[in-house]
């Protein structure tokens, strides 16, 4: 009998074998690369947190070079442990919880839980004689997840630094939330009104008054209204979780 490579039976066997081989190869590769991916994610998290308190990549690089070291994962971890003096896990009432590693909290998973069971990570940094409160954020942009970190000064009110990330916002429009000029618009803005009430931040179209740092308003990105709204909702909702804790600290 002549071998017919276009017969249905052969096609079925060929495809099954091909897909099995590809599936095994890819899952093997995934398992192999997973530790590298996780280390990169942790490194990114630490770099982002150091960045918003004022230790950007260039400064870390310089510090490393002055000691003749290269800026690798271990060194970033060392700097992180040096400047982040406290890592807290808070419950929904703003009380510190023991036994949960704040750094390992997955905010996306946490926010999917019922509000009473949610835990929030808080990092407290000390750099150049000043204390900063760092809040990780997670939310929805126009297309997909957005996330970020916000650093508050020791009045727990003024924004010192901010950093955003996104999974799939439109390049050139919503993706611009990662640009420095957008981050700079937040610096110095206040999250509470003078009476200590939480007001959050409003991101407004065509907001011209960027020099006023007490109006709780910043200018949105043109052509990215929905991403801007996502950023606004993310900041306000995430920071709100920490208000009970901040109120307790302020009373002390």
């Amino acid at each position: 009998m002549k071998f017919d490579r276009n017969s249905n039976g052969y096609t079925l066997i060929f495809m099954t074998v091909l897909l099995a081989v590809v599936a095994v190869a890819l899952s093997g590769a995934f398992t192999f690369f997973k530790p590298f991916h996780e280390q990169n994610k942790r490194q990114e998290k630490m770099t982002d947190i150091l960045y918003i308190i004022g230790l950007d990549q260039a400064r870390l690089q310089k510090a490393a070079q002055s000691k003749g070291l290269s800026l690798n994962y271990d060194l970033i971890q060392k700097y992180f442990n040096q400047y982040i003096i406290k890592q807290l896990t808070l419950d929904n009432q703003g009380n510190p919880v023991q036994g949960i590693n704040a750094f390992e909290i997955n905010l996306k998973r946490e926010l999917a839980k019922p509000a009473a069971e949610q835990h929030y990570p808080l990092f407290i940094a000390r750099y150049n004689g000043k204390t900063y409160y760092i809040i990780p954020m997670y939310g929805k942009g126009l297309w997909d997840d957005i996330w970020g970190y916000i650093a508050l000064e020791d009045d727990m009110n003024t924004i010192h630094g901010i950093k955003f990330g996104h999974k799939g916002e439109t390049p050139g429009l919503g993706a611009n939330i990662t640009e420095k000029w957008f981050e700079d618009r937040f610096k110095g803005e206040k999250l509470f009104d003078p009476n200590g009430q939480f007001t959050g931040i409003d991101i407004v179209k065509h907001w011209k008054d960027e020099t006023n740092k007490n109006d709780h308003k910043i200018d949105a990105i043109s052509g990215a209204t929905l991403t801007s709204n996502g950023v606004k909702a993310m900041i306000n909702e995430r920071v709100k979780h920490y208000v009970p804790y901040f109120n307790k600290l302020k009373k002390q």
Binding site: N6, F30, F36
Partner: protein, 208 residues
């Protein structure tokens, strides 16, 4: 078709039969990843690896593939290789893989890859197919790097992120051309390259 020599297979796609400027394929990613040089180079290498190895694998299997499902088989091989490249980049070039974002995944839909599988690997020996993949990847990469060089130099005044246009120019009124950062300008740059190439190689111009 007369058998081509290895040298021709490797170097033809660089100029005479360049996938971007002559066949006008793979334009989408050429516009998207050429704002800066570094991501463009990584993208070029990724595409080169994917074309070369998918050509090689398909060529090895060319006598076994059922003809009716060959496109699906080609896609499975391409997709597997692209996912592999994506995982590699995420593990060892994390920052660049973030800049390339979706475009690594979109190599799957890059016409150059499937075009080479259909046109070459399906009826040529593995070694020739591998060279063909390297050549076409290099032809694609060459244009990417030229465009990225022009765009980064005039759009941001830098090369590989280092400032190359001296401050003196800026002090005397020189400005970076923000237009260069837009995809439209990349298309115009590619157009200019095509024009230059065709005026240099008149045999490429279509007869009326």
């Amino acid at each position: 078709m007369a058998k081509k020599k290895s040298k021709e297979i490797l170097f033809d796609p660089l100029f005479e039969n360049n996938p971007i400027t002559v066949q006008v394929l793979g334009i989408c990613s050429a516009l998207a990843v050429t704002v800066k040089l570094m991501p463009a180079i990584v993208m070029a290498l990724s595409v080169m690896a994917v074309v070369a190895f998918s050509n090689l694998i398909i060529s090895f299997m060319r006598k076994l593939i059922p003809m009716r499902v060959r496109i699906i088989v080609q896609l499975v091989v391409i997709a597997a290789l692209v996912i592999l490249v994506d995982m590699l980049l995420k593990a060892f070039a994390y920052d660049i893989s973030k800049q390339l974002s979706v475009f690594v995944g979109l190599i799957i839909t890059n016409c150059i890859v499937m075009g080479r599988l259909e046109a070459f690997a399906m009826d040529n020996k593995p070694w020739a197919s591998f060279l063909d993949g390297i050549g076409n990847g290099a032809g694609y990469g060459l244009i990417l790097i030229i465009v990225a060089f022009i765009r980064e130099l005039f759009g941001s005044g830098t090369l590989f992120g280092h400032k190359v246009i001296p401050q003196w120019f800026y002090d005397h009124g020189y400005m970076n051309n923000a237009m260069m950062l837009m995809p439209a300008m990349a298309l115009i740059t590619v157009g200019v390259i095509i024009w230059l190439q065709r005026s240099y190689m008149p045999q490429l111009t279509e007869k009326e």
